[in-house]
Amino acid sequence: MNTAWALIILPAVTGLCSLFIDSERLRKNLLVVVAFLHLYMSLQLCNGSAGELDGVWLGVDHLTRIFLTLTSLLFTGSAVYSMIYLDKHPHADGADLAGWQFLRNRNAIFVACMQLFLAAMSLAILSMHFGLQWIGIEATTLASTPLIYYHRNRRSLEAAWKYMIICSVGIALALMGVFFLAKTTTQHVQLFTPAGLVLFAGYLKLGWLKVAFIFFLVGYGTKMGLAPMHTWLPDAHSEAPSPVSAMLSGALLNCAFLGILRIYQVCVAIPATAAFASELLIIAGLVSMGFSGIFIMHQPDYKRMLAYSSVEHMGILATGIGLGGSAIAGALLHAICHSLIKAPMFLLAGNILSAFNTKKVEEVSGLLKSMPFTGMLWLAGFLAITGTPPFGTFISEFAILKAALQTRSWTTAGLYLLFLLIVFIGMLTIVMQMTLGRRPDDHADEHHHHNPAAKDHEQKHEKHHKHDAASAVSGSVIDEDLLQIMTPVIFLSLALILGFYLPEYVRQAINGGALLLGGAIL
């Protein structure tokens, strides 16, 4: 139990301290040390006794296991990455913020808020008490807003403001949901936790439970990025520094997702509400997938593309949970794979951004030649995120589809596949534009290749061919730092392994979680 509290308090304290540390190196090292410490402790906690600890405030069940391990793994990754990221952005003093001296150094704020962010997420994941969980999730918003505003320019300010307002409103509604949920039980709840409420399942007042679920769905759904409440997501993800985007998409969304899972856990205990909740979740999921499809097609900004892909995957998760049965296990597996793939994608996007310093897709090309590793990983990540075997996403998506067909919900299955296809096509077009072709420097004749008017462009290829091949091999290669590549490689290979081998630990966690949510084991 103490470990659990330590997991929350340690990063919080160190975070606050690092506001006042002056040496850049010390701060960064602290960040990494805390990350690894957190990872170590959370692994210990999760390997410990199964089921809940005392579970009034904090507790560890299978869902916690999945998301806690995932979060601190991702945090470690992006902490390591942000070492080099901060080197690339030497700390510049922001103008003074209305006289608060200690808020001047943006790198200090970055490091501090990263750790506070971790603390908040740990709280959100570990807390069993609905109120405590709400505090945690709200805290994540507060901790991450300064991170999004890291670059201190208009765009990032706008993104941060939108993020702040929309998420706070959403979360406020979730709080109302929490109050309603409290109302469902007999006046004074001893155990205001999912497990506690499930014990009372027979006596819960369905009317209030439904209202509560609606508020939870809208509130936490906003944070999770379910359409049409996802509107903050692309802005925040595209403007935030890459390691932060990685955390937002890989870990934060999961926390909000967990928030919804917790009340769903209560809902499934009662048949009537179970059907009600599933219906809403499936609708929300499909709508999100559709939205992301629309915006990924011809998306001019590759970080926004990743953001919308996150919206899509949140949609997949919601659909999977809503479908029930073996789809729930599939959804949980999918959550793991998505985090393991999306985070490195954002980090790679960071590499590309720092090399080409543009977020425009059409200004990036020939990655495979100019940044071979990043380019190859970018392609691999694309294949992984679109559910190409042997990556884990393939297994999870297939499991969800199978469940959809088993429950005879043809329209769901059809739309699900259609949206997956649209997203695939959209991302493929963008990724090919970025990775293939010549480097921008010898773009000159690229255009009159492209020129559709040229009737006999085939002939041109013949002419250009030799020279193309020559220019393809000649030319300089942008050097890539080991730290930039290592994290993505590790995460992607983990996602790859999940494709054909589920470690017993993961399998137990997933199956246990699925059972908690009234699903079938994988």
């Binding site: 929309i166 439904k210 075997p389 297994i395 067909l405 596949l417 061919h465 030799k466 193309d468």
Partner: protein, 661 residues
């Protein structure tokens, strides 16, 4: 089984090694080729065992996230892995021989080549839906990376894009298909698919989904649009493998699915037969209008897919009508044609590669007279061309003959539907055969005969012996298959009976002999004739005494100074055909009218891009794009309205679920 897996492993690891050693071109080429050949040799042992001795099948069980999965090598998978093994090894040799032409860094190229080969072998062996889909997707992805090898070329990128999108759409179909079956029987194992009975509707749903999904790979009529460009822009040896081996995997899948479903419906047979007919005819009339050597060959592989499909359709119907001999002729013909097509198509693509390296172009308009400078390539390509047009005494004739035979037997059957089937097969194959003959006589003539049409004065050079070796081997294979067709038909019979047995059709000895005997005779007769030709050719010079022969310039009806420019070009050759089928092919015509008494400069050129692409797919995708654009206004960046969405959703849900309820 162990041997087979080791082979796959060897190939994959060899590929990885080749990638790592990518900087050293020759080394990585050596590693890649070596692993491909070694793996092929290893895999060939169990495959031949199973095919020759028959019966015993090897199994092995894996553990996957979604439960245990079986790898199984039975006669059918062994048969379909043959083209992969042979073509894979031969094309690898060819690639090694020609890789010095390639200025790119080839390590990754080798890796994906090996991956493609390995995944196809794995595919044939996988007896589990998940494994199958995995292998299927890896295969497609590997092929994609092979196609984008020359990614500086915009059209190559388009081709690759189209390929991957098409194969993904197809795979979506397969996803649903397998999900439907598994939701019926709960397990992902093929064995359990066969055991569980399904309702007629489900069976039809499954079959048509499979036809869609696998049809994309084999190039069934409306789904073929990825094919020509991908084959054209990939390197020769890659196109050889894609066309000869990968597209055959589609047929493997189709056959498997037919084996899952014990009870077939007539509609499937008709769909296959008519689909095959339309595919074949469309492919050829489009091929005749092409001016890109490799596109012609690509369309012809679509045509052969059509022929195979007709055979399968006939077999399905015959199975329903309970006419074993008819079913046997059709099925064995189709299966044999798979092998034959692989051999011919490999030969033709490799030959086209040799031509490309020799002349530096793929355009028929710029070729001609290569027979003099590249005699071997000319010989090999000529044999390939004659073979793929199904002319005796070459191998494709044997398989087409068997399918014809099934048509004739259907005609004898007498029922109306049988007559209709016979009409489709006989008339269809007749037309297809004629058009194929037209296509390949045109291609061979334009490329190798006459005088050179190209204006650049570089002398085309024959490719090295190492590059010619695979072609020679394939030619040998062509002759062996046709010469020893009765013996080749023994394993084919075994495979065919395995497939037919799944749907309850049993081939008796005489039902097989009924078809094998005529095959033997016709093979023998055509070989005797060939023998006569050769003998006569040997003594031919005796008839001409020394002074008897003199050489002049071509007698162009008295035109004194003929030169290469007055030759018939590919456009003019295809003109009559495009004229007849102009409603389908719709070639573009470029060039100005000849005017005045002494016309100065005039030129004429046609090209015929795939009409389905032009009139169906590009407009369709454009439409979808345009439909999506207005919706993007939803993300307008106005905070107030974003919050408005939130409020609306909240109110809507409250009113819908709480107040209204």
């Amino acid at each position: 089984m162990q041997q087979f897996l080791t082979a796959i492993l060897v190939i994959t690891c060899g590929g990885l090694l080749a990638w790592l050693t990518g900087r050293l071109k020759t080394l990585s080429a050596a590693v890649g080729t070596g692993s491909c050949i070694g793996g092929a040799a290893l895999a060939l042992i169990p495959v031949t065992e199973i095919l020759v001795s028959g019966g015993q099948t090897a199994e092995m069980v894996f553990n996957l996230p979604l439960g245990a999965a079986t790898l199984k090598l039975d006669t059918v998978s062994a048969f379909f892995s043959l083209p992969v093994i042979v073509l894979g090894a031969l094309s690898a040799i060819y690639a090694a021989a020609t890789c010095h032409h390639d200025k790119h860094e080839c390590g990754g190229y080798w890796f994906f080549y090996c991956l493609l080969m390995a995944s196809m072998l794995f595919l044939t062996a996988s007896a589990n839906a998940i494994l199958f889909l995995m292998a299927w997707e890896i295969m497609s992805v590997a092929a994609f990376f092979l196609i984008i090898h020359r990614d500086e070329i915009a059209s190559a990128r388009n081709a690759a894009w189209r390929f991957l999108v098409a194969s993904h759409v197809g795979t979506a179909g397969l996803f649903i298909m397998f999900a439907v079956i598994t939701s019926q029987c709960g397990s992902f194992e093929f064995a359990s698919f066969i055991r569980t009975p399904v309702s007629a509707e489900t069976a039809s749903l499954v079959f048509f989904l499979a036809l869609f999904g696998f049809g994309v790979k084999v190039g069934l009529l409306p789904l073929h649009v990825w094919m020509p460009d991908s084959y054209a822009f990939a390197d020769a040896h890659v196109s050889a493998v894609l066309s000869g081996a990968m597209s055959k995997m589609g047929f493997y899948g189709l056959v498997r699915v037919l084996m899952f479903l014990p009870v077939h419906a007539p509609s499937w047979g008709w769909a296959l037969a008519f689909g095959g007919l339309l595919t074949g005819v469309f492919a050829l009339i489009t091929a005749l209008a092409q001016h890109d050597l490799k596109k012609v060959i690509a369309y012809s592989s679509m045509e052969n897919a059509g022929i195979i499909m007709m055979g399968l359709g006939c077999a399905v119907l015959a199975g329903i009508w309970k006419v074993p001999s008819l079913a046997f002729a059709a099925l064995a013909g189709a299966l044999l044609h798979v092998l034959n097509h692989a051999a011919c198509k490999g030969l033709l693509f490799l030959g086209s590669g040799a031509v490309y390296f020799g002349t530096g172009t793929r355009k028929l308009e710029a070729m001609g007279g290569l027979a003099k400078t590249m005699p071997y390539t000319a010989l090999f390509f000529g044999i390939g061309a004659a073979a793929i047009s199904g002319l005796p005494p070459f191998n494709s004739f044997i398989s087409e003959f068997m399918i014809f035979l099934s048509g004739l037997q259907a005609a004898r059957l007498g029922t109306s539907s049988a007559l209709l089937l016979a009409g489709v097969i006989l008339a269809g194959l007749g037309l297809i055969g004629g058009l194929a003959m037209a296509t390949f006589s045109r291609t061979f003539g334009l490329v190798f005969l006459g005088a050179s049409r190209s204006d650049k004065k570089v002398e085309p050079r024959e490719s090295g012996w190492l590059a010619r070796l695979p072609m020679a081997i394939l030619v040998l294979a062509i002759f062996l298959i046709s010469l020893f067709s009765p013996f080749i038909l023994i394993p084919v019979t075994r495979v065919a009976s395995t497939i037919a047995a799944a749907s309850g059709t049993i081939f008796t000895q005489e039902s097989a002999m009924l078809n094998i005997q005529p095959v033997t005779v016709s093979a023998a007769v055509s070989f005797f004739l060939a023998l006569f030709v050769v003998l006569f050719w040997l003594i031919r010079s005796r008839f001409f005494s020394a002074g008897d022969i003199d050489n002049r310039c071509t007698w162009d009806c008295g035109f004194a100074a003929p030169d290469s420019r007055i030759q018939y070009t590919s456009s003019s050759f295809s003109q009559p055909v495009s004229e007849v089928f102009s409603s389908i092919v719709r070639p573009y015509r470029h060039g100005e009218k000849v005017a005045g008494f002494f016309p100065a400069h005039a030129s004429f050129r046609t090209d015929a891009p795939d009409s389905l692409l032009r009139y169906l797919y590009i407009p369709l995708f454009g439409l979808i794009d345009r439909a999506m654009v207005p919706l993007r206004a939803l993300q307008h960046g106005r905070l107030h309205l974003y919050i408005c969405y939130l409020a609306i959703v909240l109110l809507a849900l409250l009113i819908w679920k709480v107040v209204a309820a």
